[in-house]
Amino acid sequence: MLYAVETEKLTKYYGQNRGVVDLSMSVLDGEIFGFIGPNGAGKTTTIRLLLGLIKPSVGEAKIFGKDLPPAGGKLYRRVGYLPAEINYYPEMTGRDLLEYAAGFYNISNYQWVEELVDRLRFDPDQKIRTYSPGNLKKLGLIQALLHKPSLLILDEPGSGLDPLIKQELFKILEEVNQRGTTIFFSTHVLEEVERICSRVAMVKNGKLIHIGPVDELPGKEIRVVTFKTAGRRPSNVALEKLGKAQELPSRPGCYRVLSHLPVNELVSYLGRFDLDYLRITNPSLEEVFFELYDLPAGGGEKHHV
């Protein structure tokens, strides 16, 4: 089986500080792989290790079966990378930067680049120093995609983009994936992973805590239910059956519950209340981690993989 990315006991310490610890995972060639964890979990460190920007303290990382040495080289031809924090030369225009990037791959036909510019509604003729974070993200995405890489490593690609552009981005990613590009998709937004990824790895405090198909994502059954009753307040017993409930201090009589009930059961149970307002959403990653792994305390995990 061909792997686009492989790590074996990948560990990085910055002095005494933990980066990532014992990270072993593999990404199949051609899949869209989600890499998810809260801020500070070690996602960016892992990506920098994969790209050879930093050296591991222990362990190894391979791309297409080969070590990506710090000296870089031809293997980078097959890799496109979007960093989480985008920094380019402020005195250049977007077009200058794209031409500079294209120059590394001897690209002479700019049709694909122009298509990306159009689809992401990007104006390439402004100075980079004038771009908003959203436009910088678009520029970063175009430069990551312009040479049609075999492996696309994206660190928080959706952040800073408006919903319409984000939707277009996901379409583009699905298209390039269908053409054979493997996508390593790092994010802290659970919905983005569910929307596009086939498998997912979860990291917390630098350690891998789950890896598997996106349908088996821990906490996938959790729903955030916000409701207000028109009549009398529900009893504590009734609330406990729903899940961990909390009355919103700013809105008396309005409750927010993290519920593990199956959707049908949840809807049926909520029907018993005289509802004035109801909203059911997916939890944020932080909420999932809080619910399953006691994230804020950093210890006392309920589940271990």
Partner: protein, 267 residues
């Protein structure tokens, strides 16, 4: 080991700095070389002869300089030009490396299909081009001011070429030192401080070595000694310097390439 795309871009990114520093140095040449016409009237030769020998040696002066425009320009004006130019050279060369770390563009540049040593070598080539243009401009301005205005009959453009060439080689060496040190730094501000410190340091080491016999050995640590601008202006360029200075550049680039290969880009 060379990427033209990087070199072209580096030249473009640094052209404004080149223009600024060229203008500064042109102003220095105009001011100092232009003032030579007043030297005889002021009786500078007699005045300098009255100073203690060690003092005038420390300032890189000799009484003869104020009577001979070639010695004056090559030995004195270019000495101050070299002081400024060596600082610029270190800021330019080192800045090409530290700027990417400082700006955060390492994640763009160092994930391209070019090895790290090749990136540094390509930048060193840009440095070579920019410093060559810088010294060509200095030489042309020197000819214009000295050869066409101040002393058309006696300004020796061949001897001045040798002096300018030595200044140019000293700047290459300064750049080489910066290329070797820059991978150890993460901030352009640190590099600027280092460039200014080293630029003045080289000047002072040569001055101290000239002033005190016991400190003569310090001259070997100074680029000004190897450049020997006065000797070159007198028609006797320092051959050892012509070998040592480019070797320092080459060694600096090689050390920088080895260091950057191992660097962790954590910032």
């Amino acid at each position: 080991m060379f990427n033209g795309n990087i070199s072209t871009t580096e030249i473009s990114l640094n052209r404004r700095g080149l223009m600024t520093w060229t203008l500064i140095v042109i102003a220095v040449i105009l001011l100092y070389l232009g003032s030579f016409v007043f030297m005889e009237d002021l009786g500078m030769v007699e005045m300098i002869e009255d100073y203690p020998d060690a003092f005038i040696a420390g300032l890189g002066m000799t009484p003869e300089m104020f009577a001979d425009i070639n010695l004056y320009h090559g030995g004195l004006v270019l000495m101050y030009v070299l002081l400024l130019a060596s600082i610029y050279s270190m800021m330019l060369a080192g800045g090409m490396i530290t700027r990417d770390v400082d700006l955060g563009t390492v994640e763009f540049l160092y994930t391209r299909p070019v090895s790290r040593p090749a990136i540094l070598v390509s930048k060193a080539f840009s440095f070579l081009v920019l410093i060559t243009l810088f010294w060509i401009a200095i030489y042309l301005v020197s000819i214009a001011v000295g050869g066409f205005w101040v002393a058309p009959a006696v300004f020796d453009i061949y001897a001045q070429f040798a002096a300018h060439l030595m200044g140019y080689l000293a700047c290459l060496a300064a750049g080489g030192i910066a290329f070797a040190l820059a991978p150890l730094l993460n901030r352009t501000q640190s590099l600027t401080s280092l460039a200014i410190g080293l630029g003045f340091g080289f000047f002072l080491l040569n001055s101290l070595a000239s002033m005190y016999g016991q400190l003569d050995f310090l001259k070997y640590l100074s680029l000004h000694y190897y450049a020997d601008l006065s000797g070159a202006a007198a028609g006797e360029p320092f051959i050892t310097g012509m070998v040592v200075l480019p070797a320092v550049f080459g060694t600096g680039v090689a050390v920088g390439a080895a260091l950057i290969r191992k660097k962790d880009f954590t910032a």
